[in-house]
Amino acid sequence: MTGKDAAIREEDLQAYVDGRASGERLAEIEAYLAQHPEERERVALEHRQRAALRGQLENKAAEPIPPRLWITNIQAARRRRWGWRLGAAAAGLLLFTGGIGTGWIAANRMEMASGQPTSGTTAVAENASLAYRTFVVEVAHPVEVDAQHQAHLLQWLSRRLGKPLVAPDLTSFGYRLMGGRLLPSGSGAAAQLMYDDPTGKRLTVYVRAAEGSETAFRFQHEGETSTFAWIDRGFGFAVTGALQRDELLPIAEAVYHGLSGESPAVKKD
């Protein structure tokens, strides 16, 4: 290796293979390769293999991203796990989640970590609030059955709850029924109806069997989320939204009248 050739080293050739040599250096490398056919051939082969590898993997990167790798879904799953820890620690609420959609296997014990039994409404409010936080952020599958299949949705949820369920009409508040989903709860099934307004703000109506005789509204505020919960004839109800108390109260009252009042069974849109 003498003269100009001495300046060309293996790392120059590697950079050449990668197409990263440029300017004067590139010209020098090419001049060198012109003088060294064996090296030239080797470098060309390495370059072809590099291109072949890229070609073989090209389609993989062009595939659409599968739902399980969507960031929103991973975040929702993380939140569910986080909710589990928080719930278990704070309220004795045991909740196990797996998968998206129906993947709730939950049991709850209505006892505080201290051993003090919580009132039925508190437990309902907590369940509802947790369910709200889990699914309200869901982009891909906020509901299991959408409002287009409302008759089926209500029939299904009613059967599973063991209670005729109607979807309260909240259009006067600007909220439209999106649909609903079935959730497990300690004593059986729970139903969550989800509504949204034109800006995409969501609120939920949550129903499950509950013991207790309280009928008064119980208000709970957690982070940005407000919940009104009450119990009526063996069922617990909760209305949850990212709203202030005063904004949520009239909605909760409307739900109370529409859902657990004396005049049910009228199907509304």
Binding site: Q49, A52, K60, L69, I74, Q75
Partner: protein, 168 residues
């Protein structure tokens, strides 16, 4: 939340490609990418904001892959190549034999050489970035790259000889 998705999602196709090239199994590759994304989200606040996000994600994924691979080795679980059937490479081309299924040949390289070839040759990381991702001294990248390519050539060459012998 939304902007996190917007930041991360553009990198997912390349992470899947790298994972697949390492594992040669679509399901396992997506498992690895999912773990990578979960770890990235859980450590998001620890990330140095000035650092390159793409390199950071690849570093996480590579580290997860290596630690898992070590675990498998300790447990003595054989790493199955369930996709031994190779994606179609046109055999009629002149060059078909010498470049025939470089991806399969890559499997026979040690993980570090494999990753280096992928990060530099496919993912277009700079030599410095690749060195940092792989935790190797920057000064050694070029010689390691040269060795990896030499080895790849010889594997492909051996494969070709075998193939020609079989054809005869």
């Amino acid at each position: 939340m939304a902007d996190l998705a917007a930041l991360l999602e553009p990198h997912i196709p390349a992470l899947r490609r790298y994972a697949y090239a390492l594992l040669r199994n679509h399901e396992q590759a997506d498992d690895l990418v999912q773990d990578t994304l979960e770890r990235a989200l859980s450590r998001w606040s620890l990330r140095r904001s000035e650092g390159d996000l793409r390199a950071w994600l690849f570093t996480i994924q590579r580290n997860l892959h290596v630690s898992r691979w070590r675990q498998d080795r300790r447990r003595g679980v054989p790493v199955e190549m369930d996709e031994a059937v190779l994606p179609g490479v046109p055999a009629r081309q002149e060059t078909a034999l010498e470049v025939h299924d470089v991806l399969a040949a890559l499997d026979q390289l040690p993980e570090e050489q494999k990753s280096l070839l992928l990060l530099v040759g496919v993912e277009d990381f700079s030599y410095d970035e690749a060195a940092r991702i792989l935790g190797m001294p920057i000064g050694t990248v070029m010689s390691r790259l040269s060795r990896a390519r030499l080895r790849l050539r010889s594997i492909v060459e051996t494969g070709r000889t075998t193939l020609l012998r079989r054809v005869k």
